[in-house]
């Protein structure tokens, strides 16, 4: 597959077309109907959650939030394949994979409401917190890859980055280190066409992002990121490469950020209605749904039934997060060092004294 879709050939790997029809039987992944349905529902859940969060934000109930809207197939495919013991190294637009690892929506809500507790990911093993500084997390993935290889563990590291992130030096260093060390990392670039307002063509003059694999001597492939089957198959094959000790893989998943960059962004400033409509045709949910309906695995009726349930579930977790309670003062100081240095301890005590004094002033 990596030969057939060598990025130098400039062909994007696709399995279904915009109407959900299989156009590439050879590479159609084997997914059982139940499993496929589960994946679709996970994508749907992510989308429902996503749209709902945007409306919470409008109500002022959450701060910034970066929607996954339109990119659900990528995180869902990775989520379907990632194992409990595999590592997840997120950027910040991979809700599907995080949920699959056991992160809860409530935790994500807490995080975006402004609690570090939301990054603890109590039930998600081997899942790093969201990384805000673009591309820097990729080096962690390479380092984890080294540890996994050093310890002879049978684990794969899933690492995410955006198209914008490929311009950072850390992207270069990470894929390069991983290539030299031949470590089992799948680097997934979500090329959603923009880094905030900046289009991908202003990030780089290269023919594609997948082609950058050549610079590191690693396998690369450009995949239709709105085609769940293609994403699934590409990751499945990448996992094999990794488990065979053949080193890292670079996947460019071509997609589109249908929403705003974050809830504080206004995309009408930098892109056209026509462009948005064009991408609507390629919407990953729509395409998978067409496939499912055509194959009698799903119906609009079922969808109409399940959406309210999902909304309710999202709301339930959101309200739980909203009622999380105050942020304990101790938490400001507690996690800096394995043991708190005396001086920091003093600072905390001084703060206590101030708070006591303040309590007498402010009633």
């Amino acid at each position: 597959m990596f030969n057939e879709y060598n990025p130098l050939k400039k062909a994007m790997f696709q399995v279904i077309d915009n109407d959900g029809k299989v156009i590439n039987k050879r590479w159609m992944p084997q997914i059982s109907d139940t499993r496929l349905l589960k994946i679709y529902k996970d994508m749907l859940f992510a989308r429902v959650a996503d749209l709902q969060i945007v409306s919470y934000q409008r109500q002022g109930r959450i701060f910034t939030y970066p929607p996954n809207y339109g990119q659900e197939a990528i995180a869902a495919a990775a989520g379907a394949l990632i194992q409990d013991n595999d590592w997840m190294v997120p950027a910040f637009r991979e809700m599907g994979t995080m949920l699959a690892k056991g992160v809860t929506l409530k935790e994500l809500f807490l995080y975006f409401m402004g609690y570090e507790d939301g990054s603890k990911f109590e039930n998600a093993k081997f899942t790093l917190p969201i990384s805000v500084p673009i591309a820097s997390q990729l080096l962690h993935a390479a380092g984890i890859g080294y540890a996994v290889k050093y310890n002879n563990e049978d684990k794969v590291i899933y690492a995410f980055v955006g198209d914008g992130g490929t311009s950072e030096g850390d992207f270069h260093e990470a894929v390069n280190f991983a290539g030299v060390w031949k470590v089992p990392v799948i680097f997934i670039i979500q090329n959603n066409q923009y880094g905030i307002s900046t289009p991908t063509k202003m990030q780089t003059a290269s023919d594609s992002l997948a082609i950058k694999a050549v610079a590191y001597g690693v396998k690369g492939i450009q995949v239709d990121g709105n085609d769940l089957f293609a994403m699934y198959k590409a990751i499945e094959e990448s996992v094999k490469v990794c488990r065979n000790g053949e080193g890292p893989v670079l996947i460019e998943a071509v997609t589109y950020r249908k929403g705003a960059h974050t809830t504080s962004d206004d995309p009408t400033k930098y892109r056209t209605k026509e462009e948005e409509q064009e991408w609507d045709e390629r919407d990953p949910m729509k395409r998978l749904k067409s496939y499912l309906i055509a194959n009698k695995l799903w119906s609009e009726k079922e969808e109409d039934k399940i959406i309210p349930q999902f909304k309710e579930e999202v709301d339930r977790q959101f309200i739980e997060a909203e009622n999380y309670g105050p942020y304990p003062k101790e938490d400001v100081f507690k996690y800096l060092y394995a043991e708190m240095p005396d001086d920091l301890h003093d600072q905390e005590r001084q703060y206590d004294r101030f708070l006591q004094w303040k309590a007498t002033k402010v009633k």
Binding site: G114, G165, S167, I196, S197, T198, Y270, D331, E348, F354
Partner: protein, 320 residues
């Protein structure tokens, strides 16, 4: 303040063809805080534009442009994202003149919103001015009002030095002030005495000035006369203004947002003891953040300086 900064850029872009403005999303979008709004339309995409997402790239290319005679004004999108550019700042932007014994200069400005209090994500609320103030060859300045922002930015763009221009984003839109039209400059490196007072000198800058002013209301009620100095320049420090003031009041407190240890406060205290040891009636003191990472929004109130904290310290020092 956003408008004042935009105005300063506008004036310099109009006046000097060597001025170039770029950074992440500063072109079409006009910056995530809309500071550069409208400038690309006005001056074209070769003078105001979006760069690839790479901070070292942005600062490093600006060094090259400056060496070649342009006056780049680049934006770091948030205070937490300047670090990939750290090597270019400390190894080149601040060194080129010294290294080449004056043959090359790097007249360039690095603009950066900084500081907390806006309910932002991690890395969007830092105040790490100390580490930049400690870099020889760099100048670091912070305006506290729209007027200062405009005058200081114009001065920064006209300077032949490399200037880190830190913008207190918390007050980007908070302070309403009539700003003089047209071009004017405010000399870099000079502090500004905002209020004369006799009991204690309080040194602050950026968004902290306003917080001190709130504390001063309480101080006044308590009968304490505060002399408020807006430091304006983190490096170089206006030693003379501080010296005079502390000699007069005998007491000094510095209010900053960043971590305490190795913060700006201890340097101001050191200056006070060097300049006015025998006049001191209380130990030079500081109100600052703790030595911790800025908490996410729900915990940020524990970290940022509220006026009560400042007043608490004013009272303590005056009663000392």
């Amino acid at each position: 303040m956003v408008n004042a900064i935009n105005d300063a850029l506008d004036i310099k872009l109009a006046e000097d063809k060597s001025v170039i403005v770029y950074g992440e999303d500063v072109g079409v979008e006009g910056g995530v805080f809309r500071v550069t709004e409208g400038l690309q339309q006005k001056y074209g995409a070769s003078r105001v534009f979006d760069s690839p997402l790479a901070e070292s790239g942005i600062v490093g290319t600006a060094v090259g442009m400056a060496v070649a005679g342009l006056r780049p004004v680049v934006e770091m999108q948030f205070c937490g994202f300047i670090y990939p550019a750290f090597n270019q700042i400390i190894s080149h932007a601040s060194r080129m003149r010294n290294r080449s014994r004056g043959k090359f200069e790097t007249p360039m400005v690095i603009r950066m919103p900084y500081g907390g209090g806006i309910n932002a994500l991690e890395h969007h609320s830092e105040s790490m001015e100390t580490i930049f103030g400690h870099i020889p060859g760099l100048k670091v300045v912070v305006p506290s009002t729209p007027h200062d922002a405009k005058g200081m930015l114009i001065a920064a763009i006209e300077s032949n030095d490399t200037i880190l221009f830190m913008e207190p984003k918390r007050i980007y839109r908070a302070i309403k002030q009539e700003v003089d039209e047209g071009k004017f400059t405010i000399p870099l490196g000079k502090a500004n005495i905002l209020t004369q007072g006799t009991d204690v000198t309080v040194v602050a800058y950026g968004a902290m000035v306003r917080e001190v002013q709130k504390a001063m209301v309480m101080a006044k009620e308590a009968g304490i006369s505060v002399e408020l100095i807006d430091l304006r320049s983190i490096y170089p420090i206006d030693r003379e203004t501080i010296s005079k003031s502390v000699k007069k009041t005998g007491r000094i407190i510095t209010v900053t947002e960043g971590p305490r240890t190795y913060g700006v406060g201890s340097e101001i205290s050191q200056i006070a003891i060097e300049e006015a040891f025998l006049n001191l009636e209380a130990p030079p003191s500081r109100v600052s953040g703790f030595d911790v990472i800025v908490p996410l929004p729900k915990g940020e109130h524990h970290f940022i300086q509220d006026p009560y904290k400042i007043f608490y310290e004013i009272e303590r020092i005056v009663k000392y």
